[in-house]
Assembly symmetry: C2
Homo-oligomer: 220 residues x 2
Amino acid sequence: MNNYSTKTIPRATAKRLPLYLRNLTILHSKGIVRIKSKEFSKITQVPPATIRRDFSYLGELGRSGYGYEVGFLIKVFSELLDSYEENRIAIVGFGNLGKALANNNFRRNQNLTIDCVFDTDPAIVGQTVGGFYVYSMADFEKVVREKNIKTAISTVPSEYAQEAIDIVVHSGITAILNFAPDRVEVPDSVSMRYIDLTTELLTLLFFDRNYKKPSLVATS
Amino acid sequence: MNNYSTKTIPRATAKRLPLYLRNLTILHSKGIVRIKSKEFSKITQVPPATIRRDFSYLGELGRSGYGYEVGFLIKVFSELLDSYEENRIAIVGFGNLGKALANNNFRRNQNLTIDCVFDTDPAIVGQTVGGFYVYSMADFEKVVREKNIKTAISTVPSEYAQEAIDIVVHSGITAILNFAPDRVEVPDSVSMRYIDLTTELLTLLFFDRNYKKPSLVATS
C-alpha cells in the first residue's frame, strides 16, 4: 500500500486528485520535472492557495518557492487513487457499449477486470459473445454474490436504468459507474458515478466556440 | 441565441458551468427550486465566494441571502453550454465504441448528429454497418471537407491515435473528443477533450473505499 492515510485527506481535496493526476501526467510527458503552485493553478484552474493546501495534506511533497516534483506527485497520487486490490466488475447491458468496455477491459490497470456480463436480450443470454458468457439479469444477484463482485458498470439506457440499478444494489454491489446520465435513486451506502457523454461533447464544443485554446484537460 | 455574452465570462468560470449545470439538474429533479451559494458549495465543492462571483457574470440571476432560482440557472447555463448550431460529427474508428456512439447518436440533443463514420478495417470499409456507410480513413479529408464537418470523436486506440488525429486535424476539424487517454499533439487551433474511463472507474472506487457517500456528481 502506501504511507499516506487517505482518511486524513479532506473530501474536497480528494475530489481534485484525479484532476491533479491527469495534468501532472501531461506535464511529465512534456518533460517538465518541477512545477510551482502558481503555474499549476493556470493549468488546473484551481487557486494556488488551494493547491498548496491540498498538497500539504500529503506530507513533505514540495517546498514553497521551489516547486513540486512532478514525478513524485504522480507516484503519490497514483498510489492514492489506485486500488491495489483486485476489482472484478460486472457489466450490466451487453450492447455495443458493454462490448466495447469488455473488449478494452481496462488493460491499462491490471487490478481492474471485467469478470462477467449481463443482459436481458433472449437473443444473447446464455450465449458466449466476444469471449464473454452472457448471464441473464434474472441471475444477477446469484452470480455476483457467488463471485463476491462489488463493482458494476451500467450501460442500460435511461428508461430502464432505475430498474436495472435496483437489481444491482440489491445484490450487494457498492460502486456503480453509470453511462445513463439521468439520475437514479440509490441508498447512501452505494457510490455512483455518472458518465455523461452528451455533456462532455457540449462542453468541448462550448470551449471550441468561446475559448481557444481550451486547457490541457477537462476539469468538470 | 441568448442574452449572455460568453465572451465576458472568464474561462475559469466557464469551466465550472458543466459542473454547475449537472448539479442544478439533480437539485431540480429533487424538487428544489432555490439554493444558496453556501449550500451549493457543499454539493459542488466550489467555494461559496467563487460561486457568487461566477454567477455574478451572468447578470441578475440571484440575490444574496435569498438564494438562486434553480430552474432559471438551469435555463441560462443550458443556453450557454448548448450550441444552437447544428453540429455534425464524424466518428473515427467504428468498432464497438464507435457503434455505441452512432447508435445512441446523442438523441438527448437535437443539435448533435453523427453524420459519418470512418475506419481502416477492410472488412467494413465500403459496407453499411448499423445503418452507417463506413468510409475509409483514406477519404477522411475529402468527405469531411465536402460535408463541412468541424467536429470528430475518436475511438482509435492509443497506439494509433496520433496517426488518426493528424489526419483529422489536417482535414480542418477544430474540436475532437478522444476516448484514448494518452495525450496526442494537436495545434493550438484545435480543441481536444479526453474521456478516460479507467480514471473514471478508479475515481469511483477511490471514493467508494474512502468517502462514503460520494457527492452527487463527479467534479473532476
